[in-house]
Symmetry: C2
Subunit: 186 residues, 2 copies
């Protein structure tokens, strides 16, 4: 599909060169079409960026929703959510980097749409932890809001260093982080 | 000092507008000097970016060194290192964002200098954890390398969300993260 092809080429270019440094001309050159084709699908480069960011966060929200509605305990949900983020590095690394790095180039209107979705992802995560506390599975002294930021920081950071073809597998990394979180390092 | 003034103005502009979008003209306009003054201190905008990134990472390395040579136990060192990163958000947030976001615009030669320092920071952190494991203070099943990435991810991420004027103090956040790491959330 042309729209997805354009999106894929732009993710590649935005990650390699940066959003501001990439022109619409370069995007259409990359896939061998004309600017007219670009404007058939998008009103502007910024709308394309919004589309890329929205697609990425919607993808994560969908995956998250599937896990949250499963009939498993909270420790298992925690593992599955961590694994989900880590395992998407393979296919979504560039999208994620464009998301975190280039989001600030969006207009307020677009930015609000993306931030609302991002906050939704975070608040679903936090709600899972709160339910785990209520169920007595996690410690009741915790602050679920800060804990959520801490866990997402840990997993999101892996986009910068984790190599899914390296010595440690996605499963191992997710298991390691879950164990560390659940049992502590003492 | 003129050089520091120029650095400060550039950090502000690079964070607000982005490195590529900021011209040398805008930097000198910001502090009311001429381009000649700029070129007295820096050969290029890229050299200025290297200087900003190097100053930031050297600052962290210096702080880290002070903590590591103190005569305290490893759990206390862990707390102090986490607190150090979080408490520098107040003064270094923009430098940190320029560091993580714009580093990729450096030439290979400059990038290698910065990466070496960044790896030094990470390997000092990891060494502290290894010594804590040897001393029996931390669990010997841990992988200190992955643990280091996890902790640094958690603390570095706070640059994006933590507000030092908010409801939670720097001390509380550092204490919370240390407790969570040491004791787990179970």
């Amino acid at each position: 599909m042309m729209k997805e092809k354009m999106r894929a080429a732009s993710i590649y270019l935005f990650d390699e060169k940066g959003y501001s440094e990439t022109s619409i001309q370069e995007i259409v050159d990359e896939i061998g079409v004309t600017k007219g084709t670009f404007y058939y699908y998008f009103n502007s480069k910024q709308e394309l960026l919004k589309d890329i960011n929205l697609t990425y966060i919607q993808f994560l929200l969908g995956k998250q929703e599937e896990i949250l509605k499963e009939n498993i305990n909270y420790t298992e949900k925690l593992y599955r959510l961590i694994y989900m983020v880590i395992s998407t590095i393979k296919t979504q690394r560039q999208s994620a980097r464009v998301f975190f790095r280039e989001m600030r180039h969006l207009s307020d209107e677009h930015l609000n749409i993306i931030k609302r979705k991002r906050n939704e992802f975070r608040s679903h995560f936090q709600k899972m932890l709160e339910e785990g506390i209520e169920a007595g599975e996690f410690n009741s002294n915790l602050r679920p809001d800060i804990l959520t930021f801490g866990i997402l920081g840990m997993t999101n950071w892996s986009y910068y260093w984790f190599n899914h073809e390296g010595e440690i597998s996605e499963e191992e990394l997710a298991k390691f982080y879950t164990d560390m979180l659940v049992n502590g390092i003492k």
